[in-house]
């Protein structure tokens, strides 16, 4: 398993895919007012960062970035669990998941 290989595509293309996915996630968070889709967009952004970390780990021949991706996954899973619990609580109280209904703090 020790033989080495050249990457099949230019390294810039991996960077391009991950920044395009990140921008799509930003557009999703800003455009949609549905709480579930906003959470999904946050997940998409975390995934694009993971992809970038893994590709740079291959680029530098270093496993530390892949270990870091594990911790990003852990934090993402905990964040989604708490976020969905908050979503369920919001839905119970105001019977909608439209983020614009929560404007009591807006002056």
């Amino acid at each position: 398993m020790n033989e080495s290989s050249i990457m099949a595509v230019p390294f810039e293309h991996y960077v391009a895919v991950s920044i395009i996915l990140f921008s799509i996630g930003i557009i999703g968070v800003l455009m949609r007012r549905n709480l579930i889709v906003m959470f999904l967009s946050i997940e998409l952004m975390l995934n694009s960062i993971n992809l970038l970390a893994v590709s740079f780990s291959l680029y530098h021949n270093d496993s530390n970035a892949q270990a870091f991706v594990f911790f990003i996954m852990v934090v993402a899973a905990a964040e989604i669990a708490v976020g969905l619990a908050m979503l369920v609580m919001i839905y119970r109280n105001i019977r909608t998941i439209d983020i614009d209904a929560l404007k009591q703090l807006k002056w």
């Binding site: 398993m1 800003l30 999904l40 967009s41 998409l44 021949n61 270990a67 996954m73 369920v88 609580m89």
Partner: protein, 166 residues
């Protein structure tokens, strides 16, 4: 062959994530993000991160997406379709996202990457990653288990109604 695999997988990623943010039905958004996750796992395999690809499928497709689908079905939210937002919000959001893309591209434009790097095939194996995690990241690993525990307690307290009344 590997190059064609990369382009197909990244096309699937981008198209299904666009479907995710533009589709009106929440259920289809979740399912298309599931397709994105599988394609990202495929991209991990092309990057010699085999173990991470498996973990990615297990954690995201197995746990997180099931959680989303469970919440949608449990609260019967799939029939709440569109919130009829103004066109100006959509245009502003798309412009902002494209601006962010432009800024990142501009900041990366001066960087030069060495494209013919020699990829070590061992860095993504479970043995290598296990050694890295349990040698160098042992304390963060243990702290993350406490993070999970506190998240679990938080979820239970959030959704227990009569805990506050007593």
């Amino acid at each position: 062959m590997a190059a064609a695999l990369f382009y197909i997988l990244s096309l699937i990623c981008i198209v299904s994530s666009l479907v995710m943010i533009f589709h009106k039905n929440t259920m289809y958004s979740v399912l298309s993000l599931l397709i994105t996750f599988f394609a990202v796992a495929g991209l991990y395999v092309t990057l010699n991160a085999q173990f991470l690809a498996i973990v990615h499928i297990i954690v995201y497709a197995g746990a997180i997406m099931v959680l989303f689908l469970y919440v949608i079905m449990f609260l019967n939210m799939s029939n709440i379709i569109n919130f009829q937002k103004s066109q100006a919000v959509k245009i502003a959001a798309t412009t902002t996202g494209l601006m962010v893309l432009l800024v990142i591209i501009a900041s990366l434009s001066s960087a030069t990457f060495n494209s013919d790097i020699v990829a070590n095939q061992d860095i993504g194996l479970a043995a290598t990653l296990g050694k890295v995690i349990f040698n160098e990241f042992l304390i963060p690993f243990e702290v993350s288990s406490i993070l999970f525990l506190s998240a679990m307690v938080g979820v239970v307290i959030f959704n227990k109604k009569d805990l506050i009344d007593e």
